[in-house]
Amino acid sequence: MNLITISWKSLQFNRLTFFLNVLLIAFGTGILTLLLLGSTQAGEKLKGNANGIDLVVGAKGSPLQLILSSIYFIDFPTGNISLDDAQDLARNPMVKRAVPLALGDNYAGFRIVGTDTSYINLYNLKLKQGRFWRKDFDVVIGSEVAKIKKLKVGDKFNGSHGLSSDEDVHEGNQNTITGILESSGNSTDNLVLTSIESIWNMHGIEKDHKQSGHQSKKEITSLLIQYRSRMSIVLFPMMVNKSTSMQAASPAKESARLFSLIGVGVQTAKWFALVVMLISAISIFVTLYNSLKDRMYDLALMRVMGASQLKIFMIIMLEGIILTGIGSVIGVFLGHVFLHIIGYFQDSPQARLSGFYFMPEELHLVAGGFFIGIMAAILPAIQAYRADISKTISIG
């Protein structure tokens, strides 16, 4: 029989109160864990996907939409831009690398992206199996696509028109999987990559142009730009926005804007969780303080049996610490579970949140729980420490 057992047994004696207090602490810690893990993962995913991309050029419209559709493959594209205009821009001396993207199709919700080898180099993509595309309708799939759809090299499938449904199937041309990418932890895991020509051919554009004999009127969706020098940060987007029919959007700027929009909600939820934690601290204080009235005789008897004042103080302190300790550990665990559930039901696999993501800051949350326990228990513990044994026993 040690002090922890004594405190534990005492807590167990009032199970309903114990359960309620643990629930309150777990609720508050759970929300904070969810916010901490969710916002960090979302931030990392945003940063990881945009790494190395200084600017996105696409059709005029919402700059945030352009960023979301071309880097994170979440939203719908703003429209198409002329291939000639895009090539002119790519030849600008300020541009170090320009990666073309052609969107418009999907396979079972996974976006089919027409691009060239510069995209592979931009994300440093490596093959797990097979080879990259060589001819039209050769495709390379991301690791998540292979895993979820159970696809292997050599398998064939028909793409569908649009970005998120599989209703309007391209019956004529089948795509052949020539390679499967290694997992890279970013949006490329959820993509089907192919040549831009495949996208054009899938939609009959190549054939139409050959037949009409016109100069190229081919279009792409967007261009991912890497600057040659940081000096271009101000000049280049201004030039694109003012002197072309296209728009330039900065991923850093738009991500920050997106985060500031989400941030209001995150901040509100954080305050809500902190209020819950405060309420739980008050609840634990009231519980311990009230129970002390009933238990004064017990504590006095313990003193008669030889327990020192410090031991009595520790018994009450441990009750607060055990309550909040259990509550905060359960809260952190539930935070992970709920985050995983949220990730499971997320529409866009590119930004999928995972419960199997751990941060050292979670220990701060548990430590915060312990701190609340200490603060809630300290006054009742001091009262128990100072209790007059003789008076308590005489009153009975």
Partner: protein, 207 residues
């Protein structure tokens, strides 16, 4: 064994002076007095849970109130057993766990064999795993006695141990206290105003 010198205490303007006691090892004494005569106060002073206003208490060679707070707690846990008027066990613990507590706080290892031995002697072994709420008043008092004698204290105090019991249970409790103190060779001091107890003791202090 237990000696006191010039003990006094006061509650506001009311001053209580106590006779000097000189109780030897193995003796069984009664502290007699009407309500308000200071029996409980004296008993609390003798058990080290109430510091007197003046005077000294010696148990064997130890002057009780010269010990530091922690030393006094440990001394009490290891050498003094107390049975209170109100039979009380800690509600959240079983009888066995209540007795473990007495061993723990006295600084002894938990010894289940000793607990079984004492509970068997007090005829409540069948309640070893019961919670106090399921015990009768008589059983509670016996369990309280078990807790008091568990660590084989050389001084056993009982404060009005029979006041809430019927005649049959009162006799049982007094017999048990006498038997337990005799068998352990310890000293017994019972404070009471209950006439039913008087006959069983030959030595008494009247307050």
């Amino acid at each position: 064994m237990l000696t006191t010198k010039s003990l006094s205490h006061h509650y506001g303007n009311e001053k209580l002076s106590f006779p000097d006691l000189n109780i030897r090892k193995g003796e069984q004494w009664l502290l007699l007095g009407e309500s308000g005569s200071g029996k409980t106060t004296l008993l609390h002073i003798l058990t080290g849970i109430k510091k007197p206003f003046s005077g000294e208490v010696f148990i064997q060679e130890t002057e009780l109130y010269k010990l530091s707070g922690q030393e006094l707690d440990q001394f009490r846990g290891q050498n003094i057993g107390v049975v209170f008027q109100q039979a009380h066990l800690i509600k959240s613990l079983t009888v066995k766990e209540n007795l473990f507590l007495a061993q723990t706080f006295a600084g002894f290892k938990n010894n289940e064999d000793r607990i079984i031995e004492v509970l068997t002697e007090l005829d409540i072994i069948q309640k070893i795993n019961s919670y106090p709420a399921s015990l009768s008043q008589g059983q509670l008092q016996r369990a309280s006695i078990a807790r008091a004698v568990l660590n084989k204290p050389f001084l056993l105090f009982a404060d009005e141990p029979t006041s809430s019991l019927d005649n049959k249970n009162a006799k049982t409790v007094v017999d048990l206290l006498l038997k337990l103190s005799e068998s352990s060779g310890g000293t017994l001091v019972v404070s009471t105003h209950d006439d039913r107890v008087k006959e069983a003791f030959s030595k008494e202090y009247i307050l």
